[in-house]
């Protein structure tokens, strides 16, 4: 039985949700409205007046090769971050799941990176891979590899992917571990008796039963890679070299605050707003029908 508190009247409930409404209005509805409004204008070079251009900013953006390149970069970046962070997390969760004793310790240790702010994580990785004084760079140098993510686009991408994925592993790990532990042990044992060895069991039983968790994490991680990796990219590569790590969110910042092209920047925000709405809808739709077997 679900226990609900019911209120008489409307004043008290309204008062209780007011802070949330205010926060949402100030930090979401207002800026979102501003972005939509501004995306329809082009400011003059001195920022003194605005010229209405309708969907001109969007037309320009979609024909802009740099913007399209940024889309591709974002796709590559977020796929890599998602695959790496979920893959490593799943691997660790499977190992921890087989371990009954001590899994609590691992869980605690593995959750730590989650508490590290993206910008701090970025600085951390930047130090390790600094082209001159980085400890990893030095070891790679000993092995005869000349690491330089400031010049090499692939290396730059690799570094921001690793730095972004690292912070997500613990979050994903916790969900995967909970998902694994929710699978009844006897089902796994029945499969073992039926002849399935570890890998077959994983492929045919464990992974399918884990699919609700996997899908949930997929959406959450894509959203993260799209929007919350700004700090990492800003501290490590600032979108370079040659825009190789300029993902859509970073481009909003670069064009708007650095390039002062507010109209284009606002139009980009609106496009991102649409993307995140679609992702959210997918997620909610799916979570509603979560129990699919």
């Amino acid at each position: 039985m679900e226990k609900r508190v019911t209120f008489q009247g409307v004043l008290l409930p309204l008062l209780l949700v007011l802070p949330q409404i205010v926060v949402t209005a100030v930090f979401f509805f207002y800026p979102a409205g501003q972005a939509i409004w501004q995306s329809l204008f082009i400011p003059d070079p001195f920022g003194l007046s605005m010229r209405f251009v309708g969907l001109g900013n969007f037309e320009f953006l979609l024909s802009d090769p740099y913007y399209r390149a940024s889309f591709v970069t974002t796709a590559i970046f977020s796929s890599l971050v998602t695959v790496v962070s979920m893959g490593v997390a799943l691997y660790l969760a499977v190992l921890a799941d087989r371990l009954i004793k001590g899994s609590g310790t691992y869980r605690t240790l593995l959750i730590w990176p989650y508490a590290v702010a993206p910008a701090v994580a970025g600085v951390l990785w930047l130090f390790m891979f600094n082209t001159r004084v980085g400890v990893v760079t030095w070891y790679l140098g000993l092995l005869g590899y000349d690491w330089n993510h400031v010049l090499n686009e692939g290396e730059a991408m690799g570094l921001v992917v690793v730095a972004s994925a690292w912070g997500r592993i613990s979050y994903n790990f916790l969900f995967f571990l909970a998902g694994l532990q929710a699978i009844p042990k006897s089902v796994i044992e029945a499969a073992a008796i039926d002849g399935a060895r570890f890998w077959t069991r994983f492929r045919t039983i464990v992974f399918p039963l884990l699919s609700p968790t996997t899908f949930f994490l997929l959406v959450v991680n894509v959203v993260y890679a799209f929007f919350e990796t700004f700090g990492v990219i800003h501290t490590i590569t600032s979108g370079g070299p040659q825009q190789a790590t300029t993902i859509l969110v970073y481009k909003v910042f670069a064009d708007g605050f650095v390039g002062q092209d507010l109209g284009s920047s606002a139009a980009q925000s609106v496009i991102l707003l649409v993307v995140v709405s679609v992702l959210t809808v997918i997620q909610f739709k799916y979570i509603e029908r979560r129990v699919h077997y």
Binding site: I193, G195, R197, L209
Partner: protein, 338 residues
């Protein structure tokens, strides 16, 4: 089809030993039921035969081959779990076909064997459903089906009927017995229900705190319990115990006499072996259980025919029984005399 041998089988979790050396020889095609109270180690024993639990000491042999270090999938066994352990994301057909598919059985043969099993278990109409769309009894049948399609040498059952209602339990009990007879497969069946044990078993193993107290045919175990535990556990209501010295001066300290409720007769006060006061009677139709209190406040039960006159509450009566109905157990609870 195979024999199963357990030799001085032991299991410890850390420093605690929970199975203290069990020896059982199971013949080909035999139906063995392991019965005992909760926590006595029945599941642990079965899981060691299945290979799901490591053997701490001793040996498990299937068809004469030592299998201590053989993986479950290589033991040629099938197991039915208490919660059925069906694969929730697969249809009934896929559940039953899973093992065959892994073994690389050709598709037409899989289809044939699954449909044979489905016919046998009356599951033909449910092959396309998922486990969550089935009733408890149907799930139970799917679990059985999954076990039989692979034609294993040994069936293992861990309390397969305990999640069913009483009526279905009786029906499935019969079906399991018939199925095992028809297939002629050696079966090891764990239960805490003595009626299940009595009705299913060719031989039953009565477990007590990690030890197999007695192994034998059900009626044999019932008639000649080797320990006080077996006498108390098998039979309902359980055997009555009284201090042996009460009736046999000279019996060793701590020895007890056991008498089954159905062997006790009511006689006039002052006569018979014991005097008792009637507390209350439970008329069950075919029989009546009379609960009594002895002089030293110990409880005593007698069971009489439903047609016999029911003694009144509070009445003083005498209790008598034939000499060969009484069982003497030593201070160590072992049977002293036949």
């Amino acid at each position: 089809m195979a024999t199963v041998t357990l030799e001085n089988l032991r299991k410890s979790y850390g420093p605690t030993e929970v199975i203290h050396g069990v020896d059982i020889d199971i013949a080909d095609g035999e139906f063995i039921v392991i019965v005992g109270p909760s926590g006595c180690g029945k599941s642990t024993l079965l899981r060691m035969v299945a290979g799901l639990e490591r053997v701490s000491a001793g040996e498990v042999r299937i068809d004469g081959t030592r299998v201590n270090d053989v993986e479950p999938m290589d033991r040629n066994i099938a197991m039915v779990f208490q919660n059925y352990a069906l694969y929730p994301h697969m249809s009934v057909f896929e559940n039953m076909a899973y093992g065959l598919k892994i073994a690389g059985t050709p598709k037409p043969e899989i289809a044939e064997r699954v449909s044979d099993a489905a016919r046998l278990l009356q599951l033909e109409d449910y092959l396309g459903r998922r486990p969550r769309e089935l009733s408890g009894g149907q799930r139970q049948r799917v679990a059985m089906g999954r076990a039989i399609v692979r034609k294993p040498a040994v069936f293992l059952f861990d309390e397969p009927l305990s999640n069913l209602d009483a009526k279905l339990r009786v029906q499935m009990r019969l079906e399991i017995k018939q199925l095992q007879r028809r297939l002629g497969v050696t079966a090891l069946y764990v239960t805490h229900d003595q009626v299940e044990a009595m009705t299913l078993a060719d031989r039953m193993v009565v477990m007590n705190a990690g030890v197999a107290d007695q192994i034998g045919a059900p009626l044999e175990v019932y008639a000649r319990p080797q320990t006080a535990f077996v006498a108390g556990f098998i039979g309902s209501p359980p055997t009555n115990f009284v201090a042996a010295q009460l009736l046999r001066p000279g019996a060793p300290d701590g020895a007890r006499l056991g008498v089954r409720p159905e062997h006790v007769r009511v006689v006039s006060p002052g006569e018979g072996a014991l005097q008792a006061r009637v507390m209350y009677a439970e008329p069950l139709g075919a029989e009546t259980l009379v609960h009594l209190k002895l002089a030293d406040d110990a409880l005593f039960t007698l069971r009489q025919d439903g047609t016999a006159p029911v003694p009144e509450e509070g009445a003083e009566i005498g209790l008598a029984w034939d000499d060969d109905a009484q069982m003497l157990f030593g201070p160590d609870d072992r049977r002293l005399q036949g």
